[in-house]
Amino acid sequence: MLSLARTIAIGAGVAVLWTTSVSAHHSYAMFDATKDVTLTGTVKVFEWTNPHVWIRIEVAGANGALEVWGVEGQSPNFLSRRGWSGKTFKAGDKVSIVIHPLKDGAKGGQFVSAVLPNGETKLMTGPSLP
């Protein structure tokens, strides 16, 4: 997924490329950007809210028990100019989400990419749309 993100970024030419490390709101120091974790499961809630969108996804844990993870994305303001909407995720969607996990080990992380039920890959970064 990261290589896909980079390919798109290079293709964007002169457009500004805000990376996942840039936020209006807070630094991303609490997330481990060196690690990718893939969460495959069912969307419980999608919060299309400022300052960050949040996806809560239910996945099968190590012992098979279901657990809920919280995934933080950029803001609706930022994402709506990059092809997202408040309907990008819906409760009940079967999706796969790659995150940078929280350093403290809690069940959460920063959104990197997702594969939607229709097979579309959704990224958070890249050039803004006209």
Binding site: V14, A15, V16, W18, V22, S23, A24, H25, H26, S27, A29, M30, E47, T49, N50, P51, H52, W54, W69, G70, E72, Q74, S75, P76, N77, F78, S80, R81, L102, K103, A106, K107, G108, S128, P130
Partner: protein, 249 residues
């Protein structure tokens, strides 16, 4: 030349020259405005519109810092690298002030009206009022997040001067300021769709020389400014002690 013709020439000359004066003739005014006040705006480059920051985030590296400011910045960055959130105020939804808030991945909008330029910053839903009606900067304004501003035109550039910032704001992440901070902005159109804002930042307490930094903006004809209410769903809470809590539920 008879007196009547001379008088007419004087009137015409005044009409031509009026737009070149820096302000409304009558001094500080918030209206009501006359047709001539609106007409005079047409003589200026049209800076109005929604502008996307197409530069990079501000980076304090290019600022000439006092040793104390440099040391503080280094500590800020080291702590951030170690996983501790340092921009506590903004993480708790307190706006960071300018110029940081104009260097965001969010657009600004300029509205040009007689005697005033209004800047709407989407980040944190902030508004700046830059008075171009000839008033002077107050000597000791109440400190605010975005300061107190006046402006005037110099040729094709709108020049804004701003003082009076709250101590918790920063001029770049990790670079604070004193009550001597002054920010001068030169805003001009490099072309009809490209706005350049050059900041000249002076503060003898943290900078050993004026810090000059430019941000480029691209006109976004189809965009509107969106609401950004940070307190809507802020799941982070950063305490001054450095403790971070995150509500995942």
């Amino acid at each position: 030349m008879n007196a009547r013709v001379a008088g007419l020439i004087t009137i015409l000359a005044a009409g031509v020259l009026a737009p070149a004066s820096t302000t409304l003739a009558a001094g500080p005014s918030m209206g009501p405005f006359k047709p001539a006040d609106w007409a005079s705006l047409a003589q200026r480059p049209d800076l109005s519109g929604v502008w996307e920051n197409v530069g990079a985030p501000l980076n304090a590296n290019s600022a000439a810092k006092t040793p104390a400011a440099a040391e503080k910045l280094a500590k800020y960055r080291a702590a951030t690298a170690a996983g501790q959130i340092q921009n506590v105020e903004s993480a708790n939804c307190i706006p960071p002030g300018i110029p940081i808030n104009m260097a965001m991945p969010y657009p600004i909008e300029l509205l040009i009206t007689p005697g005033k330029v209004t800047m709407i910053m989407e980040a944190f839903t902030q508004v700046r009022h830059i008075y171009t009606d000839g008033r002077a900067l107050p000597e000791d304004p109440d400190p605010t997040y975005n300061g107190t501003s006046i402006g005037h035109w110099e040729g094709d550039a709108l020049v804004a001067e701003t003082i009076g910032f709250l101590p918790e704001t920063e001029i770049a992440w990790g670079l604070g300021h004193s009550d001597k901070l002054k920010i001068v902005e030169r805003m001009r159109l490099a072309d009809p769709d490209k706005l350049e804002i050059q900041f000249t930042i002076t503060d003898p307490a943290v900078l050993t020389a004026p810090w000059v930094v430019k941000i480029n903006y691209k006109r976004r004809r189809t965009w509107g400014i969106r609401e950004y209410v940070c307190a809507q769903n802020n799941r982070h809470n950063f305490e001054a002690s450095g403790k971070t809590t995150l509500d995942l539920n």
